[in-house]
């Protein structure tokens, strides 16, 4: 399913259509959004390099990590951009986003830009940022009808320096630019009002949410009981994706996330039956039971259970009903009173206690006007 997202971004948009836009959102309880972002970035880069995508270039707007981080990340995934980077450009909004280094008295400290990345030193000016992104993108694809993709590693950081409406404006403008093939961004939902998250979700054709594996464990003080759940939450999560189709239909899919040494992995969600079967397979199949009590019945237990006569009227086997009063064993005493439907059996032995049961439902016609609760004295 994560691959479905990547393929959608790879395929881009049709002529005259807005580019597909993906929002990746996470929260403190399950902070794997950045891992998902890196996964999508790597996949899209692979598609671009292989010539399989609509876009021919990628502009990474880096707010939360340095350009060297992305160089190292892609290198570890087998993509060496240090030596060949005519298809990617990193707009560095991380190193000096507010131009503080310009204020420094000693300018020798300032850094030099490289051909792979360029500085943005005023992230408050989103118009300027928009122009920089388009300019860098066009620089990658040259003249012609080719398109490029855009990745923004933190719109949460972007909105710290600008208003919600201006952030929505720039994203909408980027999405509708005819040379933008696809765009995706990361958002930490607990840092913002619901309004901002909703605005971004409306702008997106795909919304991928990372949620905690164990919702109950979040927010509580750590103790021995919830520690294992917290540990699970720290390595696993749930991945929900909502796709908005062209025809207006919305499709929701779900996967599980596992964060490993090699990176993030997506696995299909086990259905409830599969989970229960995994836990309750009996020992004879060689699986270790994961619960501490036995829910299975042995052969002997099953037979004993079948022998128990239920103390209800209808045994359901067509034979006359035998009522077991709990004092004598079954079939032993033939003097036992037999009750059939609708008849009253008087007790022959007046010395013993008996329950005499009158079936009202066969004697009386049901009266729909009568409220059965009328006799209650409340």
């Amino acid at each position: 399913m994560a691959d479905t997202i990547c393929r959608t971004l790879r395929d881009g948009g049709l002529e005259g259509e807005h580019a597909p836009a993906l929002t990746i959102k996470d929260s403190k309880a399950s902070p794997f959004g950045f891992d998902v972002f890196n996964y999508v970035l790597t996949q899209l880069s692979n598609y671009i390099l292989a010539g399989k995508s609509q876009s021919r270039g990628l502009v990474v707007v880096a707010y939360s990590r340095s350009p060297s981080f992305y160089v190292d990340l892609l290198k570890r995934r087998g993509i060496d951009i240090a030596s060949s980077h005519d298809w990617i450009h990193i707009l560095d909004c991380y190193t000096d986003p507010l131009g503080w280094k310009n204020w420094l008295i000693d300018k020798d400290i300032s850094q030099e830009a490289s051909s792979l990345s360029s500085f943005c030193q005023d992230v408050r000016n989103l118009d300027k940022l928009y122009s920089l992104i388009i300019e860098q993108g066009k620089g990658l694809i040259g003249q012609g009808k080719d398109r490029f993709s855009i990745a923004i590693d933190s719109v949460s950081e972007m909105v710290r320096h600008a208003s919600i409406s201006s952030v929505a404006g720039i994203l909408s403008n980027l999405r509708s630019h005819d040379q933008v093939s696809s765009i995706f961004w990361l958002l930490h939902s607990d840092l913002h009002e619901i309004k901002f998250t909703s605005v971004l979700e409306y702008l997106s054709s795909m919304v991928a949410s990372v949620e905690p594996f164990n919702q109950a464990a979040f927010g509580q003080r750590v103790d021995l009981e919830n520690l294992s759940m917290l540990e699970q939450n720290f390595r696993k999560g749930k991945f929900h994706v909502r796709f908005k189709r062209r025809n207006g239909r919305v499709r929701v899919m779900c996967e599980e996330i596992l964060v490993e040494l090699a990176g993030i992995k997506f696995t299909p969600v086990l259905s409830e039956d599969e989970i229960i079967n995994q836990r309750l397979l009996p020992k004879r199949y060689g699986f270790v039971q994961q619960v501490q009590f036995n829910l299975q019945l042995s052969e002997e237990e099953r037979n004993e259970r079948a022998k128990v006569v239920l103390p209800f009227e209808h045994q359901g086997n067509g034979k006359p009903i035998q009522i077991y009063d709990g004092r004598r064993s079954l079939g032993e005493n033939k003097e036992e009173a037999l009750v059939s439907t609708g008849k009253l059996q008087p007790d022959e032995d007046s010395g013993k206690g008996q329950i005499i049961y009158f079936r009202d439902s066969d004697d009386e016609m049901p009266d729909s006007d009568e409220d059965p609760d009328d006799d209650l004295d409340i």
Binding site: K28, P31, R65, S66, S68, F69, D72, L73, R76, Y94, T95, D96, P97, L98, W100, W103, L104, I105, D106, I109, Q111, E157, R160, H188, D190, L191, H192, E193, Q220, R221, V222, D223, L224, L227, L230, E231, F234, R235, V259, E260, L261, A262, G263
Partner: protein
């Protein structure tokens, strides 16, 4: 590192391995505490470990909370002489106690003050000899007082922290900060501390036991070590939880139920 008595906190932070390269290089550590369980002892422990004879670390200590004499007294009891380290240029102390950034005029804004503080830190790092420049640890005690110094401007504080974070990438230094979680607990959306948690690679939480007060246990530490990618590859996410007791000259760390 191998010669010293390593405790559970050292192990949780990965300080039980070789001291070169320093395991916390390029990483951001956030210590969160509250009134019932102060986390300052974690900061002191990290000062002691950073200044161990087997490491080459230099600490830039930005102190908003206490004067030098306070830390000197505590670290002496832990077996570390801060005066000597200061003289050896391994412990550089920025006294921010007057809640004013250095050399700032009355008219300058809060943001201007933090810019100057950042510039001072940057200049200090650049002024170090070549072999020491790669082994810098920046410690800030504590962020809530930085917010006070900035007249409540948490946005400026976040900007300052962002620039400090950029230093970890530029110079491979570590950034260790302390903040009080309970200050923000009444807020609907405690943006400052949440942003700090997102920035942090390692989160150390000092909090009371869920069962309440105890005489033999002063609190519990939870260390969330995010397996962030760094140049050595990626380490897995790990979570550690253990109890502690703060004594006069040391802090004892132990797993729940392991003490008689």
């Amino acid at each position: 590192m191998e010669n010293q008595n390593l405790n559970l906190l050292d192990r949780a932070l990965g300080l039980d391995g070789p001291s070169e390269p320093w395991p916390l290089s390029g990483r951001v550590v956030l210590i969160e505490d509250c009134v019932e369980t102060s986390g300052s002892f974690v900061l002191h422990q990290l000062v002691k470990r950073s200044l161990s004879p087997t490491s080459s670390n230099v600490i830039i200590f930005v102190a908003f909370a206490n004067p030098f004499s306070h830390y000197d007294r505590i670290l002496r009891k832990l077996g570390c002489n801060l005066v000597t380290q200061r003289d050896n240029k391994r412990f550089i102390f920025f006294d921010m106690l007057m809640l004013r950034c250095p050399d700032v005029d009355e008219g300058k804004s809060s943001e201007g003050g933090l810019v100057l503080l950042y510039e001072k830190i940057l200049k200090t790092i650049c002024g170090l000899p070549g072999d020491k420049k790669d082994y810098v640890t920046i410690m800030i005690d504590d962020i809530s007082l930085v917010e006070v110094a900035a007249n409540g401007g948490s946005d400026y504080v976040l900007d300052f922290l962002h620039y400090c974070h950029a230093l970890t990438s530029e110079f491979d230094c570590s950034l260790i900060t302390l903040n009080h979680e309970d200050i923000y607990s009444s807020m609907e959306r405690p943006t400052l501390i949440l942003q700090m948690e997102y920035l942090a690679d390692i989160l150390i939480k000092a909090e009371p036991l869920s069962t309440g007060l105890a005489t033999d246990v002063h609190g519990q530490l939870t260390v969330l070590n995010k397996g962030t990618s760094h140049r050595l590859g990626r380490s897995g996410n790990k979570i550690h939880n253990f109890h502690y007791k703060v004594k006069e000259n040391t802090v004892e760390y132990f797993y729940p139920g392991s003490r008689v």
